[in-house]
Amino acid sequence: MEDSRRQFLKVAGTAAVGLSAAPAISAVAASGGHGAQPHVRKGADALTAKQWGLVIDTTKLDHEKIERIVEACHKTHNVPDISAEKVGEKTAVRHEIKWIWETHFHNAFTDQPSKYISEEVEERPFLVLCNHCEEPPCVQACPTEATFKRPDGIVIMDFHRCIGCRFCMAACPYGSRSFNLRDPRPFIKETNLAFPTRTKGVVEKCNFCAERLAVGKPPACVEASEGAIIFGDLEDPHSEIREVLREHHTIRRKASLGTGPAVYYII
């Protein structure tokens, strides 16, 4: 009896060792025989940077041009137009979705020290959007890492992960984020079939046209601006954007908050 128990344990032990080695053996066997494994990579034309940024030359923009730029962006990304005619004025204000929009100087630059400014600047329309901050407060606020900063500086949303808590909206000092309080699909005038829509219950914002940069195209706003918006790598001292920044005096929105906005304005 003693002998056979010992025998049994020996056999069982050897079998257990053999079984635990099986997955490793089969993995080695599989990788050996079948040649290349499937893998992923960036597209050959993809534009890359360390910190993407924009310079907006406000002297070159007027209401019509801004309208065209906003339309180009919103059409590209299936941003719904929840207008007052369709849902009533009060609801339209609460349900509005915007990635890029026009505003007044006093709303855009709340921390400018001068009390009396030039009339011309005061009346000039300003184009505002997500600043793709160097230290984005929305990213710190997001509990699910649905909003994150990419290695190329773009602050982007992973809509798959957004739980709709809206902490990011409270954290963003620029009002760059909108919440889908309703299904946006009925309000999209012309659907861009190549880009997804959003669903009820997620926050959305400008994505710096990550999908266009991936295929070597400039952001839609830059393309529609006819030279009024310059985009490029802020970390590259030889880039066009840095050249423009060297030549012109620029200001940033609420820079005193320390978020490090990557959108610069020529006034």
């Binding site: 079948h34 040649g35 290349a36 494994q37 499937p38 893998h39 992923v40 990579r41 960036k42 597209g43 993809a46 994150f148 990419r150 190329d152 982007i156 992973d158 809509f159 798959h160 659907t191 079939l193 190549a194 997804p196 829509t197 959003r198 669903t199 990550a210 991936a214």
Partner: protein, 130 residues
């Protein structure tokens, strides 16, 4: 105590009851397995991104990896074992071939009683309104 008979009977009854759903399933008539329709384009391609067996069983895991890679890692090109390249996009690549969602995706999903919410955002038929 000599309740051997009772105990064994109890165990047998327990197993019969516990395995009842499996029994029932064996005898019940099942609905016909869904028949998938391939578009001419999908037929002409012969092979999907991976082989059919892998795709049938694992397309959801593959799509899950794709969405993470595209959105979070900004890598959009998938190179399969044969070296063929694909743009990792549900609407623009998968549904470009399988442009018949109702006859391809939905039939199986309905049969398995699964309601994926991909289509809440991703446009389900990029060709339909083109």
């Amino acid at each position: 105590m000599n309740d051997k008979g009772k105990i064994i009977a109890g165990i047998v009854i327990f197993f019969v009851v516990a395995s009842f759903p499996f029994w029932l399933n064996m005898f019940l008539e099942k609905g016909p397995a869904p028949e998938l329709v391939l578009t001419p384009k999908a037929k002409a391609a012969e092979k999907c991104v991976r082989d059919t067996q892998f795709m049938t069983a694992n397309h959801m895991q593959l799509l899950d990896e794709w969405r993470d890679t595209v959105v979070r890692k900004a890598e959009r090109i998938y190179v399969n074992a044969e070296g063929k390249e694909f743009n990792m996009s549900l609407s623009n690549t998968c549904l470009d071939c399988h442009s018949n969602k109702a006859e391809f995706c939905d039939r199986c999903h309905d049969y398995a009683s699964i309601e994926p919410y991909c289509w809440d955002c991703h446009i389900d038929n990029p060709k339909e309104t083109k």
